[in-house]
Each structure stands twice: as structure tokens, then as C-alpha cells.
Subunit: 413 residues, 2 copies
């Protein structure tokens, strides 16, 4: 059942300054993100997960491309793009900025850094935000230069991340607060270093803007972390689902509004900021939502129990009694019925975890019947995100003797 | 040396209506293009090549996403985006439209189809053109709706393509001229069918806009083509290099101007059209080009002879005498020195073929010394594109007894 296919390399799928290193270190799979290579698996999804939660990993997240917006109108343009109020953002802050169009639909959800009064970097997820910004600026005659910067972020993640970073950058890293950044010196080069990263295990992101110095830094992180069991790693599907970190394109996409995606808490809908999506989002909030992103949890004590592509059936449908093959799901712009997002088996909670964009009233239910990939049906919990395992009464476990999630590690990410 | 890595599947890398079929038919590798899966190899790059030149293949090129621009200002917006004159385009024409920004740099190079006076589809290469168009339209207050259409093109390519298409759609397909389209009926559904496709072996593209009918069509093409040796296929690197078909992102990218990319013949720089890039491109033409996309041919009678990542050395550099590892190339926005594009070994011409964006005066030379992937150096021809093998005195051959290009088939595309 495991469908493993090779990725054809080409110049169009850009390498990073660290690709030759992650290959030498045994990366087994990649995905493609912002026209660039992103490692997805080293030892295995499950082994990588436990290690991330126990020690420290260095991640090549160069695919977090930095879109540079510079000029007198840079802040005005970004405010158009995001319904989050930019006024009063401290100069050393990293700020999560859902971007939305005039219909309130998601364009991307970058983390923004304000480098100077007239200069921002947007650290984007997977869509060409630079093209949208360039179009808006040119169409409206704004004075701002938009380009992709030559920056390839490295993340250092895990409970031992601070210890490793202090060995390389000095104890000054300990003073960086969560979602703040500082400019730190390394071999006579100044890097922006933030306490951030796409896991909840703690850590930092280094905005590498020099290939040669960045490669030396990469190597030194491994040299100085040997006794900390440092390993190469990457954003981990299990960890990020357990932690409720959303992935644009997987959990929600350009068909969904910012509010449907559960990002309302980041918006400033009660202010008078000049933002393209304000009107649509206010109207949507007033009318109430037809669909919402939720969490799904299926008890699976002995290993993966993957959900079917379209797992949501009405109670009346007796699918197991029919000989029909399970329907495959082809994403369509025009089709917004119940939609499964990401899924993975959590070896810690021994549940199959998933996200799903569900229509009301199902979105508001607490449980339902779902179809599994093998065609059988079972009971599933529906909950808000991030998962509150304690509230759900789901207890954590230690690792099973042998990794059980391998069959899935290549088909899901 | 062959570096084979798996592609991690996820919802973000969208499947097409035909992905389950190409998997069942034995696809071995994919690439990712416009956030969607594109098959790249079935039997092998070389076997797929000979078959494409001999028979007929059905390609899942759903990744050629259709950006729909509809409204009173649709044509005005597209004219902004392309420096090619849109006036007088016949209603049944497919038209190649390089898109360029105000600096004359490439954004994409779609084929446009005018569906109605106020409605176009742009069949795009790999970048989010919809975001650029949405930005321009919103910024300038144009009355046009921009969205990705639910269309998944199929290509039928090869010398027997017309014969197969006639069996499915009737002899009317024979009346469609090159780069023209017609609306043809299939099972009570009207499909746009064009005589086009990303090979020079002849064929058609069917703009499938219905999943179920499209899947039936896919299956019928295979049913009715058995005696024509129909096979699943995909754009083939060897064939498209021999034919001089360029790939945005591989041969040229957003750092290069339309003129540098050799697309000047498609532009209308001596007209007064209202297009964003006109001024920059006229100035560039007047000043003369600093760099140009050219072809590279290295004699390789016995099999692949891959070029190094950075193969262009000055005659003085005695690379073979040094113990230095070959430098790796990390593409940077700010770096525009000699740059290798795509490469493949042509089993027909028994040469290693490549594209390269070369600076003057090298771009105007007829030969140079290049570094190969094994660190040795050899003589290479430099020529204009497409390759004119007759003029170069390079003779065609029949297949070698055993395919020799396998070692490369996964590392290059």
C-alpha cells in the first residue's frame, strides 16, 4: 500500500546551501515548497519525532523564502495584505501575518520581521507572495521594491536547542524572548536570530544570508552538538499536528477564509486599518461561518489507522455494505464540502490525528463516524485546534518497542 | 552517484484526476509544478523518449493550470502582463505569451486562449500568475475576476496522436490547425481541444474540465490505442531539449529578461501597446544584451557525459590540476554569472545537450572548454537555440543496443 515515488531533481526545484549536507547526512525524502527542496524524513517520521522531542535538531528550512518589501510605502502595502494591525509592532518582533484578498481568502500566512522603518521581510509559506505584492504595488503606484531576498533560514529545534545555540553564539541567545529577534555575530557576519520555529519543542531560527558563512555555521552546529545528540531534522508531521501548527496548502488553502481557518485571533477587525480583506471578513464574521477547521482524533492504540481521503459520511450511509471503491478526492476550486487536511499517527497519544475543514453542523459536533483507508468505519472525536489532549482525556505514552508508523511515513507529510 | 530521493506526498502537492491512473500504470518519478504532481518518468527517460518519437503517448499535464481572467478589463490586464500585441488574435488561436514585469523580467510564459471577448485562460508554467494578476487588478481597480479554473489538461503526443484522437473524437480533429483549438463533443460534454503540446512530435491537448468525463476519456484513449502502442508519458527532457522547447525555471527564470531568454521574436516592441515591460525592454534592446540563452553540445558517443554544475571555466584555469572539489551552485537572485540550465544526453545525436545563460562575450563564441561532472574538461560547441543539428554537422543515430542513459534519468529533468 505504501506508494513510494522518486522526486526528479531539476534546477527549477532549487537546492539550498545545505542540500548537499542533508543528502550526505542521509535524508530519504523531500518535498517541494516555494520552488525549493525541503527535507521531510531522515531516519523515519516516528524516529525523527521522538528525537525532536528529546534532543536538538538542525533543520534546513531555506524554503521559508524571505520576501523583501522596501520603500516608503512598504508598511502601507503590507497592511493592505494583512487584516492584522501593524501599528505599534516593536522593531525586534516576529509577527504572524495571515494575508488575505478582498474576499477574505487566504493568500499565505508568513511571519513578518520589520528590519527597518521602511523595510520588512515576510517569511512565507508555499505561494508566490512576491507576485501578489508586486502586482498590488505596480497597480496602485506604490513606492516599494519587492523581491525575494537571498536568505536561507536554518532552524535549531528541540529541548536542547538553547544549549547548542549558546555554544555557537554565546549566552546572549538566552536573552532573546519568544518571537523576538536579535542580530548576533558569527565569524564577523551579523545574522538575524529569532526565538521561533515550526515546532513547539523550543528553539531558534537563523536567517542565513551568506552561503559560505552559513555552511560553516551549519557544520559548527553539528560539531558542537555531538554530546547533545544533535541530528539533522525537518518540520515533523506528527509533532506539528500534536502541537496544532497549521500548514497552508495542507490544512487550509486559498479557497478558505482567514476566519474559517481559525486565525481570527490574529486579526484586527475592530480597528479602521486600511486592509483589502477587512470588509469581507467583517461581513463574514457578522453572518457567521459555514465551515471551520477542526481537529479529528481516532483511537488507534496499536499503530497507524489512516483515514480515507474522504472520511466523512453521514450516519445513514452503510459504506462497508457496498462494494464501491472508496471515492478519491480531487481538490476543486469550486468544491468546498467536508475536506480532510493533514493526518498522522501519534505514537505518544496512540491516536490517528487529523485536521479537517468541516461544514456546519458537523463542524460543531463532538463526534462522528469516519471511513478509514481500509474501507472500515469507526468512531472519531471532533475538537477545536490545537488539540487539548488533557481535555479530551487522551493520555500520553512512551514509545512503543518498535516504530509502527513506517508504512505511512512516505505517504503522508 | 545517482541520487534518488523519495517525494513525500501531501495534500499541498495536489493530485490530478489522473494520478491514481498513472500510478497504476507504473510511473516511477514525479516532479512538483504549480503545487501539483507531474509524472516525469515511466519506463526510463530514454525508453520514454524513443517511444514518444515512434508512437503515441497520453500525458497527464494537469499542472498546466488554467488561470481564468474574466470581465470587461480582462484583455487590458493581460496586455499589461505581456509585451506581445493581443489585438487581432483570432478567437480559435492558442497564443504564446511571455509575461514580464516593469523591469522586463520574466514572470511566466503561458499559452493563452481567448474563450470569449471578455474571457481568457492562461495555461501557465510554474509560478503563481493568478497572484500577480489579482494584485495588478486590485491595485489598479480593474473590473476582472481572476481565478484558477478547475481544468486538468491531457496531452496526446507523438506521430500516431492524430490517428488515436480521430478514433475518440472523430475525423474532425484533423481539421484543427497547429496552435488552434475547437470545441469537440465527448459523451455529451464539450471539451476544448487544441493542436498543441510540449513536444515537437505532433499532437493535441484536451482541456479537461470535468473529473468523471475526463477519467472516462483517459481510459478510452488507452482502450482505443492498444494497437498503436499507446503508453502513458510525460514531457520528456531529451525530446524537449532536442526540440528547443524551453522550461521556465530551468532554462531561464525570474532573474532573466524576456530578451535574454531569446523570446524577442514573440514581442511587439515597435507598437504602442500598453504593457508594463515595454519601456524596460525597449531600453534593453537599444543598449544591447549582456547575456543570452544558448545551446551547448558536447560530443558523447558512448553515453551520458554530464556537465558539472558550473561547467564554464576560463581557458587559463587548469582545473584538472587542482585537488579542489567542484564548486556547487546555489542560485542567488543577486548572482547572474554564467549559469547552466537543463541538460540531457541525446541518444539520437549522441551528444550531451544543455542550455545555458551565458554572459558576453562567451555567449557569442562558437566553442569553449567545459568541466564535466567527473572533474575532467572537454570541448563544447556553443550555438543558438533551437539546436540546428544539420548546421552543426551532428548526425542522427538509431537507438544503441542497450539504453545508456539510465544512471541520469532520475537526477536530471
Amino acid at each position: 500500500m505504501a506508494e513510494a515515488h522518486y522526486l526528479s531533481m531539476s534546477r527549477r526545484l532549487r537546492k539550498t546551501p545545505f542540500t548537499s549536507r542533508t543528502k550526505a547526512q542521509g535524508v530519504t525524502a523531500f518535498t517541494v515548497y516555494n520552488h525549493m527542496m525541503l527535507p521531510t524524513v531522515f531516519e523515519s517520521l516516528e524516529a525523527d519525532y521522538w528525537h525532536l522531542c528529546d534532543a536538538v535538531q538542525v533543520w534546513d528550512v531555506s524554503v521559508e523564502r524571505q520576501i523583501s518589501l522596501k520603500g516608503p510605502d512598504a508598511t502601507r502595502l503590507i497592511q493592505w495584505m494583512t487584516p492584522r494591525d501593524l501599528s505599534g509592532i516593536a522593531s525586534d518582533r516576529c509577527v504572524y501575518l495571515p494575508l488575505a484578498d478582498e474576499r477574505g481568502r487566504l493568500i499565505n500566512d508568513p511571519v513578518g520581521i520589520r528590519l527597518a522603518e521602511d523595510h520588512w521581510w515576510l517569511s512565507i509559506s508555499d505561494s508566490d507572495v512576491a507576485l501578489w505584492a508586486k502586482g498590488l504595488a505596480r497597480g496602485a503606484g506604490l513606492d516599494v521594491r519587492v523581491e525575494e531576498a537571498d536568505v536561507w533560514p536554518l532552524a535549531v529545534q528541540g529541548p536542547l536547542a538553547e544549549q547548542l545555540m549558546a555554544r555557537v553564539f554565546g549566552d546572549t541567545v538566552k536573552n532573546i524572548r519568544f518571537f523576538r529577534y536579535a542580530r548576533l555575530n558569527y565569524r564577523n557576519h551579523s545574522f538575524i536570530v529569532a526565538r521561533s520555529g515550526w515546532s513547539k519543542q523550543g528553539g531558534f531560527e537563523i536567517y542565513v544570508d551568506d552561503v559560505i558563512v552559513g555552511q560553516a555555521l551549519y557544520d559548527e552546529l553539528f560539531d558542537k552538538g555531538k554530546d547533545l545528540q544533535v541530528r539533522p531534522g525537518c518540520p515533523n508531521l506528527i509533532e506539528r499536528l500534536e502541537s496544532g501548527l497549521l500548514a497552508f496548502g495542507n490544512d487550509m488553502d486559498a479557497r478558505h477564509s482567514v476566519l474559517e481557518s481559525g486565525l481570527g485571533g490574529f486579526l484586527s477587525l475592530d480597528t479602521t486599518i486600511d486592509s483589502l480583506s477587512m470588509e469581507a471578513l467583517k461581513a463574514e464574521r457578522a453572518a457567521g461561518l459555514d465551515r471551520r477547521l477542526v481537529g479529528i482524533a481516532v483511537e488507534a492504540p496499536y499503530g497507524p489507522s489512516p483515514l480515507a481521503e474522504n472520511p466523512f459520511i453521514s450516519a445513514e450511509t452503510n459504506l462497508s455494505a457496498s462494494a464501491q471503491p472508496l471515492p478519491e478526492v480531487i481538490l476543486q476550486q469550486s468544491d468546498l464540502t467536508h475536506c480532510l487536511g493533514s493526518q498522522a499517527w501519534s505514537p505518544r497519544y496512540r491516536h490517528q490525528l487529523a485536521t479537517a475543514m468541516l461544514e456546519e453542523p458537523l463542524a460543531g459536533a463532538t463526534d462522528t463516524v469516519v471511513v478509514l483507508a481500509d474501507g472500515s468505519t469507526t468512531q472519531a472525536r471532533i475538537c477545536s485546534l490545537p488539540f487539548d489532549f488533557e481535555k479530551l482525556g487522551i493520555l500520553p505514552h512512551s514509545p512503543l518497542p518498535t516504530p509502527a508508523a513506517e508504512a505511512l511515513s512516505l505517504t503522508l507529510s
